[in-house]
Structure formats: C-alpha cells, structure tokens
C-alpha cells in the first residue's frame, strides 16, 4: 500500500508539472505529460551523470510542489474544459489503471536482459542514489545510456525500497503520455475521433511486436526492455511537433526534448532521433509559413536556430554520454567493437562504400540480400491474415512491407482528408519518413555486417526487435497525422469512418493474436512462480547472512541466467561472487577463463586459476582467495555430488540451499547454514 501511495504522489507531482507547463506555455494539455516526462528523463540523466542524482530528485519534487502552489494560487486561470481534453483524461485514467493493476499484482522481472541490465540497473540506482556507472558492483553491462533508468528512478525516488513493478509502471505511463500526445489536438467535442484513436494507439505495441498467436504470456506493457519505448519515443518527437497546427516555440521545444530523450533511451536511439530531427527540421524550414521565434530571433534565423538546436541537443546528449563513459568507465563510446572491431564513423563510411559497390565483400552482399528478403518475407507484426502456408498468408504475411503499406495507407488517408496545408505537410513528412526508414534499415544492415558476430549476422538474429522500433514510431506518426487531418472535417464523414474501420481492424487483429489470460491484463500468477521461489530462497538465505558475506553461487542450469537472477535478488544485502557465471560447466576437468575471475586478483592468481583444472581443492583455494564466506546451491546434478559432495558436511543430502564455509586453514567444509556452531 505504501508503495502505491508513493507512486501515486509521484504521478500527482507529474500532473502538477504538466498543468503548469500547459498553462504557462500553451502546450496542449494532452501533450504536456510527454513533454514533462521527456524533460524528467533528461533532467535526471544530466544531473546523474555529474553525480548529483539525489539533488536532481529533490529539485524535481520541489519544482512539482512549486508548480502545485502556483496552480493553486492561480486556480482561476485554469480553464478546465481545455485542460480536460480527451488526451489528458486518457493519460490520467490509463496511468491510474496501470498503477492499480500493478500495485495489486506486483509483477517482477522475468526476462534475461532485465537481470543483466534494465532491471538490475534500476535497482542499483535506487539503492545507491547514484548512476550505475559510479558503483556498478558486479553488473556486467554499464555502458548503456541512462534515460529510461532515470525515468524509473523518478518513479522510485519516493519510498525506501525498490519495487520492480514501479519500473513497469514508469514505462507504461511514458507509453500513455506518448499516445495522449498523438491525439492531443482533438478537443472534447471531437471525442468520437479521440476514442478510436486512443484504442489504436494503445494496441500499437502489441500490433507491431506480436507476430504469432503465442501460448506464453506476452510481455508487452510488462517488460523493462528499451526497444518499444525507444520506438515510441522516436514517434513522440514527431507527434509533439506534428499534432498541433500552430508551431509555437513551446511545441518545437517539447519536440526537442522528446528527440533528445530518444537519444538517451538506447544506443540505437541516436540513429532514430537524428531521423526524427531531420523530419521536423525539413517541415520547419520548408513548410511552416508562420514565425517560430527562437528567443529574440525571428523569421528564417529563428527557424535555423531551432533546427540547429534540434540536431545539437541529441548530438550533445550522445557526446555527453561518451564523455561520461570516458571519464567514469574509461571506455571509448565511438569504438563499437564487434566482429570487425571498427569505430562508428568507420563503420558507416565502410558501409556506404560497400553499398555503392566499392570494395563490396561477400558477407556484405549476403547479409544485405537477407535484409531485403526479410523486408517482405519475415513475419514481424500482427498485420497478417491466414496461416503462413496459405496463399493469403504468404501475401498478407505481416512483414515489414505490409506494415509499410498500412502506414502509407493511413498517411494517404490523412493526405486526402486534410486541408491544403495539411496535405502538403503529410506528403512532405511521408516522403522524409519513408527515406528515413530506408536509411535506418540500411544502417541496421551495417550493424549485422560489422558489429554482430558472423553466425548472428548471417541469420539476422533478433531482426524484428531491431526493426520494429521504427515501425512503432512511424505508425504513431501516421495515426497522429490522420487525427490532425480529421480535426477539421465534419462528423459523420469518410475520415471518421476510416478511423473507426482502422480501430475495428486493429482490435480484430489483436483479438486474433492475444488471449486476455496471456497479456498484462489477466496473466496467470504462475508465470512468476519460479521467480517467486527464487525471491523466497534468497530471502531465507539472507536471514543467515550479513553484508560482509560474499556468496559463491552454484547453479548448473544451462545458459547461466540464474547467476543474474540471484545477483539481482541478493543485491544489495549480500554480495554474490561472479562464480564463473554459473552454467553447467562445473566439473573437475573444467579450466576457468581469466575474464571470469575477480578483478582484484593478482596476475599470479589469474594465471594460476585460469590454468588449473577446477578440482575440489582448487575450488576451495578459489573460495579462500576470493573471500567467499558461503555457498548457495541453486541447481546441481548427481555427477556434481560425486565430484564435490565430499566438501559438503551433509553430502548435499539435507536439501539445504545455503552452506557456510568453515575453513580451518588446512581443510574446508561446507556446513548447512545454522549448523555451523554445531560443526
């Protein structure tokens, strides 16, 4: 209950900021939450990078309080009819609904990368009240940009304990803010457009990421990965600019915030935010007839300054993080590493040369051919009909090409329904967004050629996850432009019918692919069963441990995910040794890799432990050298008992999970926790 109240207060603070922004700048009330959230991401990221995260939180809440006081004192200025627009009402109700749902069900992290970065980083930041780069502990990934983690922190700031469901809530509130901004131009009397638009937009993350009727829980709206938020933020910059008809400085400034937020959502966001910035700049320079002053600069100079800002802000964010990495982590952000070990500029230059035929390699040709083929043959979305084997299914296969056709159809409708100015705007944005997609697609191809390892590159591994962010943002833009065109049409026209049909179509596809019991709405509790058991096991073990303890984790399950899960569970109360990353490779014949050894080991220790077969004696020496005080047993096999069972006082027969290391100097034994005194 306390956690629910904390996050409710945070939401109230956010709403105070939104209303203040709306009243002071004239930004549509439906767009204000997105501007405030993007500003929040940037604010916390900037101050977090210079080690002032706690101050950032206090100042953010102080600003919200000041905004609330100001609003109360000027309450007569508030025009509630304007504030309570369909978009704003949607944002508030959807956010409250998701808070109530998550507070009641308390979902926890369940996916690999949530334990390797997106979840554990949020926990580290909340615990340490500083950016994860400053005190990463045993986190294996620390170079990712901080925008989304900072958004999580903003919603975790109040309250003492970290709650994973608050991370999901923060993400979903950002999603709803983006959807609200996309139809923020609609007023209350246009509710009949706002409702289907909201339904289509809310379904977008499902429509663009689910491509088969799955038998497992679909984790859309229930996941901390950055791909969907990045795609939505890419669309956010565009809808903040294109939704309102009049381009005021506040509108362009809010678009600038969203574009910068895209850059710090995920590394690939840099490419997307530059495309968004280019689309906005071209509209501002070539189509916007009215003046958009940049402080005291007006006319073309004002617009040029805005364009410069739109490009400079994300570039500054990119370079800022590069500088932070260089100073704090001693790493070069421009070095993308990977298969070819290239710098970023070199990768783009080489890719472009090969694209035009200069020095084209066989690998480049093969991967680019696969990319082209995947565009029209790989199922990535719900926009498919029939089974993959049927003729209809092969034609309408939910591939990228079908998505592009759907998006261009929506843009065509927006073009036909809009007035003269809107027609120009839609046509211009369609042109640049299509070219932007081509550029993004080719760039993604380059990453397969130069960054990923050969097997992954040739197979186009995780193809849909790398591509759908663009489709998501592009689709949001198309729906927003359709709403903008429809705003000035009469009710009962073809436009409104088109939107209703689009909405019906999206609901139909979502209904065909999703079961409520396999979505965020009504997932079975059993989906978290194993995670709840891990939570309980870690909680039971913690009763016997203190923060001075260091535990060695044994889990012979494949892939080694359990190490990340238990590191997350024990953090920050007990330190978990890397334990060679767990995994099934735990035999007396195994020779350990030097990278898996603790960083504080001397060269001699590294040389010794990376050449010795990992016998029971060597394991004991390792435990002694690394300072481990306990062994936590998660999963083991019969052969493990044969090889190492003699080290355990109970021969691993008592079912205990936590063993204390009892070391006499000459002999080491592992005794079930709580029985060491007897021993």
């Amino acid at each position: 209950m306390a956690a629910f109240i904390e996050i409710l207060i945070t939401l109230a603070a956010l709403l105070a900021l939104c209303l203040f922004v709306h009243v002071k700048t004239g930004l549509a009330s439906g767009a204000a939450p997105l501007a405030a959230l993007c500003g929040t991401m940037i604010w916390y990221s900037v101050l977090g990078s210079v080690h002032l995260l706690l101050l950032a939180g206090f100042l953010w809440f102080a600003a919200a309080l000041a905004a609330a006081v100001w609003l109360w004192r000027h309450r007569k200025m508030l025009r509630w009819r304007e504030i309570l627009s369909p978009a704003f009402v949607f944002f508030v109700l959807a956010s409250l609904a998701v808070l109530v749902l998550f507070a009641a069900r308390r979902p926890v992290f369940n996916e690999w990368d949530e334990f390797s970065f997106w979840g554990i980083a949020a926990k580290v930041v909340k615990t340490e009240n500083q950016l994860y780069t400053f005190h990463p502990g045993e986190m294996r990934a620390t170079t990712f940009v901080p925008g989304l983690i900072m958004l999580d922190y903003a919603f975790q700031f109040l309250g003492g304990a970290f709650a994973p469901w608050k991370v999901y809530a923060a993400y979903d509130i950002l999603y709803f803010a983006i959807f609200a901004a996309a139809f923020s131009m609609l007023r209350r009397r246009q509710w009949y457009l706002a409702v289907p638009a909201a339904a289509v937009l809310t379904l977008t993350p499902f429509l663009m990421t689910v491509y088969q009727r799955d038998i497992y829980v679909c984790n859309v709206y229930l996941n901390a990965y950055a791909d969907i938020p990045m795609g939505l933020l890419f669309g956010a910059g565009l809808v903040l600019y294109f939704a309102p008809r009049k381009k005021t400085p506040a509108v362009v400034c809010s678009a600038l915030l969203a574009i910068t937020a895209t850059c710090i959502a995920k590394d690939m966001g840099f490419a997307l935010c530059l495309i968004a910035a280019a689309i906005v700049c071209f509209d501002l320079l070539f189509l916007e007839k009215e003046d958009v002053p940049f402080f005291c600069l007006k006319g073309l100079w004002g617009k040029l300054c805005w364009c410069a800002s739109l490009v400079t802000a994300p570039v500054a964010a990119f370079l800022g993080w590069a500088a932070h990495m260089a100073v704090v982590l001693d790493m070069n952000r421009f070095d993308v590493g990977g298969a070819e070990n290239m710098g970023m500029v070199q990768m783009v230059a080489t890719g472009l040369c090969e694209l035009v035929g200069i020095g084209r390699t066989e690998k480049f040709t093969q991967i680019m051919q696969s990319m082209w083929q995947a565009l029209y043959s790989t199922r990535v979305t719900m926009f498919s009909l029939g089974g993959p084997q049927t003729r209809l299914g092969r034609l309408l296969n939910g591939s990228g090409m079908i998505v592009i056709l759907v998006i261009l159809s929506i843009l065509l409708a927006a073009f036909l329904l809009g007035d003269r100015r809107m027609k120009l705007r839609v046509a211009w944005a369609s042109l640049w967004s299509t070219l932007g997609f081509a550029a993004f697609y080719i760039f993604t191809g380059f990453t397969y050629v130069y960054v990923f390892k050969d097997g992954f590159g040739y197979q186009l591994g995780d193809y849909n996850r790398y591509i759908y962010p663009y489709y998501i943002g592009w689709f949001i833009l198309a729906v927003s432009m359709l709403c903008a065109s429809l705003k000035n049409t009469a009710p009962g026209g073809w436009g409104a019918l088109f939107l209703l049909v689009l909405c019906g179509g999206c609901i139909w596809r979502a209904n065909a692919f999703l079961q409520p019991q396999l979505t965020v709405l009504d997932y079975p509790e059993s989906v978290y069963l194993e995670r709840r058991e891990q939570e309980a096991a870690a909680a039971a073990a913690k009763k016997h441990l203190t923060e001075d303890d260091r535990i060695f984790l044994v889990s012979l399950a494949p892939f080694g995910l359990e190490w990340f899960q238990y590191y997350y569970e024990f953090y920050p109360d007990v330190f978990v040794d890397y334990s060679f990353g767990c995994g099934p490779d735990f035999t007396p014949e195994t020779v350990r890799m030097p990278e898996a050894l603790p960083k504080f080991f001397t060269e001699e220790q590294v040389a010794y432990f990376s050449t010795q077969p990992f016998t029971g004696e060597v394991w004991c020496e390792y435990l002694r050298a690394s300072g481990c005080t306990a062994v936590f047993m998660d999963e083991w096999t019969g052969s493990f008992v044969n090889d190492y069972g003699y080290l355990f006082s109970d021969g691993l027969k008592s079912g205990a999970q936590l063993y204390r290391i009892v070391d006499t100097g000459t002999q080491m034994r592992f005794v079930p926790a709580g029985e060491e005194a007897v021993s």
Binding site: W191, I215, T489, G492, Q515, D522, E525, S526, L529
Partner: protein, 244 residues
C-alpha cells in the same frame, strides 16, 4: 414511456446522453446475459445436459494418467509434463461429449507450488490433439481450491495438467465438473470485463455517433461542412437569437 422515447430521441443530438445510454445498455446487457446464463444453466441442469460430476481423488479409472504415479489420493509427477485425461467412457458412457462449464480442483500440494495448473479442452469431435490455444488457467477460489471456467459449449475432451515440475507431489481430494456457481460469484467482474466495460460502450457510442451524423449529412458534397464551419454557424445563430 413517451418521455423515455423522447429522451432516447435526444441521444442523436446529445453526445453525453449517447455515451451514458451506451454504458447503460452495456451494463444492462451484461446483467441480462448473466441472468440468461443462469436460466440456461438451470434448464440444462433440469434436462440433464449439464450435470455436477464429482470425481474422488482416489478414483483410478476416471482419468488416464501420463507421467503421473497414483497412490490413493497421492500423486507424484514423473516428468515436467504430467497429465490427467478425463475418461469419457467412464464418466459419460455412450456419449462422445459433455457439457463442462467449470472444472474445480481440490488439490493440496505437498512439496512445491504446482505452477502452471491448467485445463486443456477439445471443442470439436475431430480434434485429434489437445491444442495450446484451447486451455484455461486456474483461478484460486480458496486455499487448495482451483477453478477453471470453460466456454459453455460441448466438450469432446478434458485434460488436466496439474503442474510443471518433475517430482511434484500433491494430494487430490476431488475434481468437480460443473460445480454450481453462486450469484455473487457470477456477478464478480473479471479484469477483461472491466476493460470491456471501459472501452466497448465508448466505441459503440462512436459508431452510433457516426451513423447519426452520416444520416444528417446532405447526400451530395461528401465533405460537407467542417466542424469549424458548423460551430461558426451555431455561434451566429445564438448571437442572432440574443439580438432578437
């Protein structure tokens, strides 16, 4: 009555009333459906189509077991995919189908949480295999009581998957098919219903609004007047009215 019809007539002009009407119709429709469901269930029970069947846990012939070891009411899973398939020939001799609306398990786990307890079903006589698309998950009614609500059609096969762990031990007290449901239980809204309650009436109101507006529009000139033009016209009318 006349007044009610007059009020209903105004929904064409008044969006708020249209929305309220849609919500009212949806809520009333839900209530009617629930009552019809109760009535249909009652009639089917009277005619004997729907029967409450209680299968004791120690029964050895009601289910064919796969990867499960049974000793009286004690069961042990021998793999990660234990199954209990209902033997129709034993439960309903001479019939290839049963009306099963609800399956209730009285099951006490002994060593671990059973995990993904679910029920698979076959809705067609020619379904050879159980399909993952045709399954429901448990709703925990009370401690050790799991209920599964199935679609109300004829069932040509029922399979209970009692857990996802090898070595899982549980005590099955009984399985009840078509356990009667209380009225509060039937009236308790589910999360999908709450979402539908929030969204469906609004979307229905949008469709009706479009129909009403399309009827009002002139046959020619499809673009008609824009919202801005209409507003200007109404403002002018109001001003004129005030002036006179």
């Amino acid at each position: 009555m006349k007044r009610m019809w007059k009020l209903l007539g105004t929904v064409r002009e008044n969006s708020k009333r249209l929305i309220v009407l849609c919500y009212a119709v949806f809520a009333a429709g839900t209530l009617v459906l629930i009552l019809l469901g109760i009535a249909e269930d009652g009639v089917r029970r009277l005619t004997g189509d729907v029967r409450t069947i209680e299968i004791p846990g120690e029964s050895t012939d009601a289910f064919s077991l796969h990867d499960l070891e049974q000793e009286g009411r004690q069961y042990t899973a021998l793999s990660t995919d234990p199954r209990m398939e209902l033997e129709y020939s034993r439960i309903s001799p001479g019939s290839s189908f049963l009306y099963v609306r609800r399956v209730t398990l009285y099951l006490e786990e002994k060593n671990m949480n059973p995990g993904e307890v679910c029920v698979f079903y076959k809705t067609l006589p020619d379904m050879e295999e159980y399909d993952a698309m045709y399954r429901v998950w448990a709703h925990q009614d009370a401690e050790n009581v799991y209920s599964f609500t199935l679609p109300g059609c004829k069932m040509y096969g029922i399979r209970i998957d009692p857990g996802i762990f090898a070595g899982l031990r549980f005590r099955l007290e009984r399985v009840v098919l078509n356990e009667p449901r209380s009225l509060p239980d039937r009236l308790m809204p589910t999360r999908p219903y709450l979402l539908a309650l929030a969204v469906v009436p609004l979307l229905a109101a949008c469709v009706l609004h479009w129909i009403f507006c399309a009827q009002k529009r002139p046959a020619k000139g499809r673009r008609g007047k824009t919202a801005g033009q209409m507003n200007r016209r109404s403002t002018e009318k109001k001003e004129k009215g005030r002036a006179t």
